[in-house]
Symmetry: C2
Subunit: 227 residues, 2 copies
């Protein structure tokens, strides 16, 4: 489903060039459940943004479902993102002037789903993440962990083929974290491909394989638990 071939990502800052991802080779199949770990600043979010078609490599190739994404224009990339990918951002990116419910409805508006059904599905997604009693709250009336859970609900509500979750439990206590990871496990059992960036081993345990990133390179793969 996902194939990165010699992918690099660099930023230029005046005369300096910063190589953030260096020769990444990675293959992820439909139905995989992958955890990505690594030090702060090692390139995990940058890697997730490329996988999620939010960013393009500086060099190398990225094939999503067999299509070379460098051959697609921005509109086609946006279409893939809306239809196939649910993204939980490290900084949530909720729209501040929309309630939790309306934030979760957004991906369904793009997918052309009718109002009545959107309302119902958004409500269900918020209940799944434990926010059934916060549906009408605005983001600034929510705690850090509640905002994170709205971002998670928004990512899963459209039933996407691929979920990319960048530190989805960073702001959550242990009990709430486990509940979220159990939701992801259920979705994975139903066939959703899941990639989770995390710095917590207890969270990585839920995945079937763990990839370690350091200084922009994939350091090792832990296939210990089998695929």
């Amino acid at each position: 489903m996902i194939k990165l071939e010699d992918v690099t990502k660099s930023y230029r800052n005046g005369k300096e060039t910063m190589d953030v991802l260096k020769n990444i080779n990675l293959e992820i199949r439909q139905g995989d459940f992958v955890a990505i770990m690594g030090p702060s600043g090692s390139g995990k979010s940058t890697l997730m943004n490329i996988i999620g078609c939010l960013d393009r490599p500086t060099s190398g190739a990225y094939y999503f479902e067999g299509k070379d994404i460098s051959s697609l224009d921005d509109q086609e990339l946006a279409k893939i993102r809306n239809k196939k990918i649910g993204f939980v951002f490290q900084q949530f990116h909720l729209l501040p002037r929309l309630s939790a419910l309306k934030n979760v409805e957004l991906p369904m508006i793009y997918a052309g789903i009718g109002k009545k059904q959107r309302d119902e599905l958004a409500k269900q997604a918020l209940i799944k993440v434990g926010l059934g009693d916060r549906i009408q709250h605005m983001p600034n009336e929510l705690s850090g962990g509640q905002k994170q859970r709205v971002a998670i609900a928004r990512a899963i509500v459209n039933n996407p083929k691929l979920i990319l979750a960048d530190e989805p439990t960073g702001a959550l206590d242990t009990k709430t974290s486990e509940a979220i990871m159990e939701q992801f496990t259920m979705l994975n059992k139903e066939g959703t491909t899941i990639i989770v960036v995390t710095h917590e081993h207890e969270v990585a345990q839920f995945a079937k394989r763990t990839i370690v990133v350091r200084d922009g390179e994939i350091l090792q793969e832990d296939l210990g638990r089998g695929s």
Copy 2:
């Protein structure tokens, strides 16, 4: 240094009233190192905002260094915050158009410190949190954990009497987290009072006492390791 007496905090949403903090009684001495744990949405950040003079209780009294803060106007509260308190926010709140260095300099500008000295102290603080090579980067050129560390550097640079850190290691890998908590331990040994909200037990271990919050109440105190 800090005394909360029957503090409550409620929000009104049309007809509904939400009691977020209920009868909080808490005393923290100069030189204490306290961890606050509890489920997402339980009131930890709300409690920190009241302790940090960023918010006022709905009822009850808050004494900071013996002064009843309800007797102080907003300007006096701002003065206390700038001179005595360093705050690491759960959502960082960096100014997006200032570099890491300039973000860290902000508290010193308010304190009237000269440019040459500000530059040097800000640089030192960023080196302490492992960002010596990111000094000129803008927030959108930094990873999640790097932004968090800029927020930490900004909180410690003015050598405040009280540091309030709301999930300061939420976006950091284990190794970087430990380095940050060791910085806090050193500051505490030099006399700084530190209160850390965290959902990770490994982080709470660095504190001398742990307070558990649930549904807006202080559930229990763990004085197991002595004060």
